[in-house]
Symmetry: C2
Subunit: 129 residues, 2 copies
DNA sequence: TGGTAGCTTGATAATGGTTACTATTATCGG
DNA sequence: CCGATAATAGTAACCATTATCAAGCTACCA
């Protein structure tokens, strides 16, 4: 089996994601990390993002429109996507709401529901004006 | 402005989607329609699927894993995705749950929430055994 | 009917996001 | 410091989807 070795590139990606409220795409992350490591490769960014997702250190958001986005906050929480500017924001919703939802969904269903993923859509504060 | 003209290819796609409980990908639809129209082009399938989505006659499901899927049932309802075999199934959840969820999400949020999209994950009946 | 404006098609090229490949470089336990 | 092997940069390949365009259909009206 394979162990995971340290890499400064991966550390840099983790640090950037931990310190931003935005939900950047792989390409945005690539641009950012290049400021510090000018020859980092886009493939390296993707490889490390997937590694971090597998390790449960970050979350991948597949919004369906365009590129995936990444969230350095791995704790379960919910997201809003602006239909006008595509910005992604965190939402404050009590966690038990989703347990209830999952339970509700399981009624009359013959398989086993283990989780769910929700995106909320609308207009963000900026785009409302 | 542009009017929409009849096309037998589009009718065939609509008919197929109306009569299946599966949630096929564009490619699966392409394969199916080819049985009747052997020289239909994949581009034609995509173009018509997008048209039908715009007209609100079908629904596009961007699951995040692989290709988008399409649903001939345009009425709002929820979906379950098997994490093992990727099958997509319909779920029976009362519609007002949507509204409650969206309202809940809007509390303490400075933008305007207009809708949401949820996917439930787990193991389907077949994959449980 | 026949003509015609312009929507639709099939074929294929192009695009965009992501992953795979490979020679070289970095990490780390001994 | 060595050696094994994971990680990297650079680049090609991949896949789903969209764009392009000449030729074919549809709808509508004379």
């Amino acid at each position: 089996m394979s162990t995971t070795k340290f890499s400064r590139q991966r550390e840099s990606i983790k640090e950037y994601l931990r310190n931003t409220k935005e939900h950047p795409t792989a390409d945005t992350i690539y641009m950012k990390i290049r400021e510090k490591y000018p020859n980092i490769s886009l493939g390296t960014v993707y490889r490390n993002l997937n590694l971090l997702v597998e390790h449960g250190e970050i979350i991948k958001l597949s919004t369906g429109n365009g590129s995936d986005r990444f969230d350095g906050n791995a704790a379960p929480h919910y997201h809003f996507i602006c239909t006008e500017c595509s910005a992604v924001e965190d939402l404050e919703i009590p966690e038990e709401v989703f347990d209830q939802l999952n339970e509700l969904a399981g009624k009359g269903f013959s398989g086993k529901i283990e989780g769910s993923s929700t995106f909320f859509y609308g207009k963000c504060k900026n785009c409302l004006s």
